[in-house]
Amino acid sequence: MALNQQLNAHVRFMYDQGLLEELQFDQLQQLKDANNPDFIVDVITLFCEDTDRILGELDKYKGAPVLDCYKVGAYVHQLKGSSSSVGAQRVTLACVNFRQAFEENDMDRCRQAVNMISEEYSKIRKEFEKMVQGSAHGMLAKHTAEK
């Protein structure tokens, strides 16, 4: 029970910090049910694994003297979608920022935008990690108590 409160407090903190979009994340929380109590943890974990992969790909392009904005753009588009779906709004905004820089043909701004995406993702990744760790312990403690 106390762990659930902790989780709720953590989520509220993330809403207040603007890291999570309340409406969307709330939707995800509502999807949790008896058949799938770990749904939030599953989605967050999936998002982090997927984004780690995407940023890994982006790293390869970052080093080039001329940024391949099309290739980078394709990855950023993916990330824009998935971040929006989990409510990671600052990551989404950073992706939109890249799109604007791309449309304005501003290479420097594109580079900056990619860096900003990484930064925003690091911030939320840290919080998501805490959330997942907290949840797993919560699950384990509850399961042990029920035996």
């Binding site: 939707q27 999807l31 989605v43 979608g81 998935s82 779906s85």
Partner: protein, 143 residues
């Protein structure tokens, strides 16, 4: 631990094929649909979706189970959701299946061409539970 689905109840459940290249979105759409008691199969590409529908390159593939609706993302690498929609609507065996297109981008020209091509609806992502309840009326009942 209780399980909702058994062999007999699966036959009565409406079956949705959800197509999206984004892993997170696939998970989300699957969960939203399942929590509304639909049976869900997911595909990560238009090509894969066509294989599951029985229109694969290898004529060996057979439509596993009847699909009552296809819901697809618009922007996908390789084959877009629009292209998938066209192929489905041009197929004698598949054209009756209702298709819903979803996208995170609100582009009016994309929306209208999908509707013109026969899509039932165009939904903006991220998908909400309320969007799904609207889909029910479009579902194709098994004959």
């Amino acid at each position: 631990m209780s399980s909702c689905s058994s062999m007999s109840s699966k036959d009565n459940m409406l079956h949705v094929l959800a197509v999206d290249d984004c892993l997170v979105d696939r998970k989300l759409v699957e969960k939203i649909l399942k929590s509304s008691s639909y049976r869900v199969t997911t595909a990560d590409s238009g090509k894969r979706a066509l294989e599951l529908l029985g229109l694969g390159d290898d004529n060996v593939s057979v439509q596993e189970a009847k699909v009552n609706m296809i819901i697809t993302d618009y922007f996908m690498p390789g084959m877009t959701g629009y292209e998938l929609l066209k192929i489905v609507k041009e197929s004698a065996t598949l054209r009756e299946i209702p298709v819903v297109v979803m996208s995170s981008e609100n582009v009016p020209t994309n929306i209208s061409r999908c509707l013109e091509e026969g899509a039932e609806e165009f939904l903006l992502k991220p998908l909400r539970k309320s969007d799904v309840s609207r889909l029910h009326s479009h579902m194709m009942r098994s004959s």
